[in-house]
Amino acid sequence: MNELTAEHFLLLSGALFIIGMMGVLTRRNVLIIFMSVELMINAVNVAFVGFAWEQDSMIGQTFALFVIAVAAAESILGLGIIMALSRRIDSVDVADVTTLRD
């Protein structure tokens, strides 16, 4: 592949998404899980912008901008929840959150 094609960016996006998903599935620290979710959101952004670049469109970039804004709001709330959690159960281990399980 001597020419830069959209497949490059899509494969990068897929790899980043899978890495983030592995982080969510395997780690127990809720902070790491939060960072992995951010990683997945960014992978989706790369896919959006990659498609927009391939199709000579601006809608992908517009959508990625909206995704970034929503991710900012989500991160504020997520970090607030993490802080409330660590205050309430003195832990950031997701295995310790058993309120709905027992």
């Binding site: 960072m35 990683l39 991160s75």
Partner: protein
């Protein structure tokens, strides 16, 4: 191999390595720094994809705001509470890796065998340049066809801010003793002195008022008049007043460098 592909390869490999660092490193602070590296590399990818504004927004919003917040939360959470990576649940981790690899294979197959449908849009590189550049075109999009989503984003950010305040509020509100009001250092409010309360003086004319004022004036320390509270406010500007000689050694404060003086500096 063209230069573009080379640059892309460097950025992509760095991004993937640091993304692996996010999920493999034990220390959450190292993970956060690794995530910063990932985001900066992705900003470079965005610039390669002719999305310059998104690259800048990526750096400002993600590495500038969100990751700093994450670091603050890591700082606030007790480090003894942070669970180890390899503690317990090997089954869950093995399942996670296997499912991830399977999904990666599926994704790669889907990407490599896809066919492009639809027609490309008009926004080629030359056309975007002709319209004034990436930022201008994006601004036209956002404020013509996407006005309602923009306002919805505004509401979402407002709700997020309020929600964060509600979530971060402690269960028991902190009760602070209100014994002493804030000390102020001012050139214009000369009444009062550090640590002692001076009731407001009658602003009288003549020799009696003048004497009272001179007697109960605030301290002057190295050229700065120290006032403790709002009670000692005076409408008379400082440069029209005379001051009592300070009962402190001027040399102590001269050595201080600032003349403000700390608690306990008084000799």
């Amino acid at each position: 191999m063209s230069a573009e592909v080379l640059v892309f390869d460097i950025l992509a490999v760095l991004a993937i390595i640091s993304a692996l660092g996010v999920i493999l490193l034990r220390n959450p602070v190292h993970s956060a720094v690794s995530l910063v590296v990932t985001f900066v590399n992705l900003a470079g990818i965005f610039v390669m994809l002719r999305a310059e504004f998104l690259g800048v927004v990526q750096v400002i919003v993600y590495t500038g705001a969100i990751l700093v917040l994450v670091l603050f939360v890591i700082m606030l959470v007790d480090p003894d509470e942070l669970p180890e990576f390899h503690r317990g649940q090997p089954l869950q981790q093995a399942a996670g890796f296997i499912i991830g690899l399977m999904l990666l294979g599926e994704l790669a197959a889907a990407i490599l065998t896809r066919t492009v449908v639809g027609q490309p849009g008009p926004w080629t590189e030359d056309f975007v340049q002709q319209q004034g550049g990436n930022v201008q075109v994006l601004g036209q999009f956002l404020y013509s066809g996407y006005v309602l989503p923009i306002q919805a984003i505004a509401v979402i950010l407002l709700v997020g801010t309020i929600g964060a305040l509600v979530l971060a509020r402690p269960d028991q509100p902190t009760v602070r003793p209100r014994t002493r009001s804030t000390g102020t250092i001012s050139l214009a409010h000369p009444r009062g002195a550090e640590g002692e309360f001076h009731p407001p003086l009658p602003i009288g004319a003549g020799a009696a008022g003048r004497a009272a004022r001179v007697e109960r004036r605030g301290e002057m320390r190295g050229g700065i008049i120290v006032v403790t509270d709002a009670e000692s406010y005076s409408d008379i500007p400082a440069w029209e007043l005379e001051f009592a000689e300070p009962d402190v050694d001027q040399k102590t404060y001269a050595e201080d460098g600032f003349g403000i003086g700390r608690e306990g500096d008084r000799s």
